[in-house]
């Protein structure tokens, strides 16, 4: 697991109160991890803090799975 993926999972674990080691790339934030509406926004806010980036809010809230979040953030960092 690369650094970005590890940091994304650490954030997800912290916000959703889940052990990051149990997270899989295919986990769906809402259906598998039980994220509530406000937690989706908390995730966006925490990702922005963690990576010091600003994400398009609508696009970011459209991300549904952990692995997608990793790729979404990786792309922003690369751009």
């Amino acid at each position: 697991m690369d650094d970005i993926a590890a940091r994304v999972k650490a954030v997800v674990g912290r916000v959703l109160k889940i052990d990051p080691k149990t997270l899989k790339d295919g986990d769906h934030f809402v259906q598998d991890l039980g994220a509530e509406s406000i937690q989706s926004i908390e995730l966006v806010a925490e990702f922005e803090d963690e990576f010091d980036i600003e994400m398009d809010e609508d696009d970011a809230l459209g991300v549904q799975r952990v692995g997608e979040a990793v790729e979404f953030i990786r792309k922003i960092l690369e751009d």
């Binding site: 509406s37 406000i38 926004i41 908390e42 966006v44 806010a45 922005e48 809010e57």
Partner: protein
Amino acid sequence: MKQYELVETEGPVLLEDVFPHDNVPLILFNSNFTDTINGEDVTFDLAHLTERDLHITDTTFRDGQQARPPFTVKQTVDLYKFLVRLSGPNGVVRNTEFFVYSKKDRDALEACLEVGAEYPRVTGWIRADVADLRFVEKVGLKETGILTSCSDYHIFMKSKMDRRKAFEKYSAAVGAALEAGIQPRCHLEDVTRADLDGFVIPFVQNIMRMSESVADELKPKVRLCDTMGFGISYPGAALPRSVPKLCWRMVHDAGVPPERLEWHGHNDFHKVLINGMTAWLCGCNALNATLLGIGERTGNPPLEGALFEYIGLTGGTNGADTLVLTEIAEYFEKEIGYTIPNHQPFVGRDFNKTRAGIHAGGLYQDHRIYNIFDTEAILGVPPLVAITDKSGSDGVAYWVNSFLGLKGKDRLRKSKLVKIMRWVTDEYDVHGRTTAVSDVEMGNLVEEHLPETYFEKVKQDNPS
């Protein structure tokens, strides 16, 4: 059955010819309607409706005041001045009416006359008693309402008369008014349960005959008083409850021209404004109303509702100042101590406030989705969001950005407001709160979590 195909468009079709948003939604007609009266099909002409001199008359100080502790003289004059501004120079609110019996009534009336406004004209209200006319003469009014109750409930049971006595008494009062140079306005009390052919029409025909030779400005007006709110607007409804048929028969069988015909209703069956509007459509040029709809029992047509119907019908304000309505509502609450129901259209505290997160989401994207019209421009009240457990992140985002006056790309993103959202969520989910979060609490949260933005706003609001 004709098959309809999906029509795809480049963008939204917003029907702005009907819903212009910077104006009140328009009430457009594309056909007349017919009803059957005395076995004959009659047509109500809606195409030429706006060629008639439609207007509003006010009875806040008469019927409105009857239903509440009396206004002070100062309150009456203050409200009258609001009505002057609301009416505008063209007399959209044409008349208002006063009792004339007590010294306080006359003091208030004379103080309003001293304002010197053209509209609304000050008129009186008296019983059908020739002696009562002296009160009207004393204060120099040119028009007065005269109580001419016309159902047998009133003639026999209340006034202990019979039809002949009522006919003669009312006719005498009208005759005396004409002689005194005062335009009589006959209030046909309880007309929606009266015998039209046996009393109402003969009486009205009589006063029309009596006034054939008098000057136009003296010819009697007729007010159709739906005293108990029995009127029905549905096409095909029977007399005496049918509003369309009553109006039609007054014009065509009793000979009252629309410019001298008026509707006065009550809200006992929740029909007060729609009946008034129907009367406008069917032959009455004047619709009698009160500020906020106050009035005996369930109230009269709310004047503000009548005004928005007027604008919707005619397409413009004709000089009426709709912004005054919000000042009037504030005056009623702060100076008179009257509690306006929060959900009352146009003037209630919450009339354009959403509590549903999904609606707040719509507002957040574009006001037009969930605001009836541009309420900020027309009433000085931007659409609002109340913060509750149903508000969601969109509601909080809308509230905070509205509070800070941030629009478009300057709006704070939801991710910047997440701590406020979390506080709101926990209030309900963790602490079991059952009340809405107040604006003060929300302001405090903004100060705590967005201090720089908050103080920037404070600085802008208080430049000194």
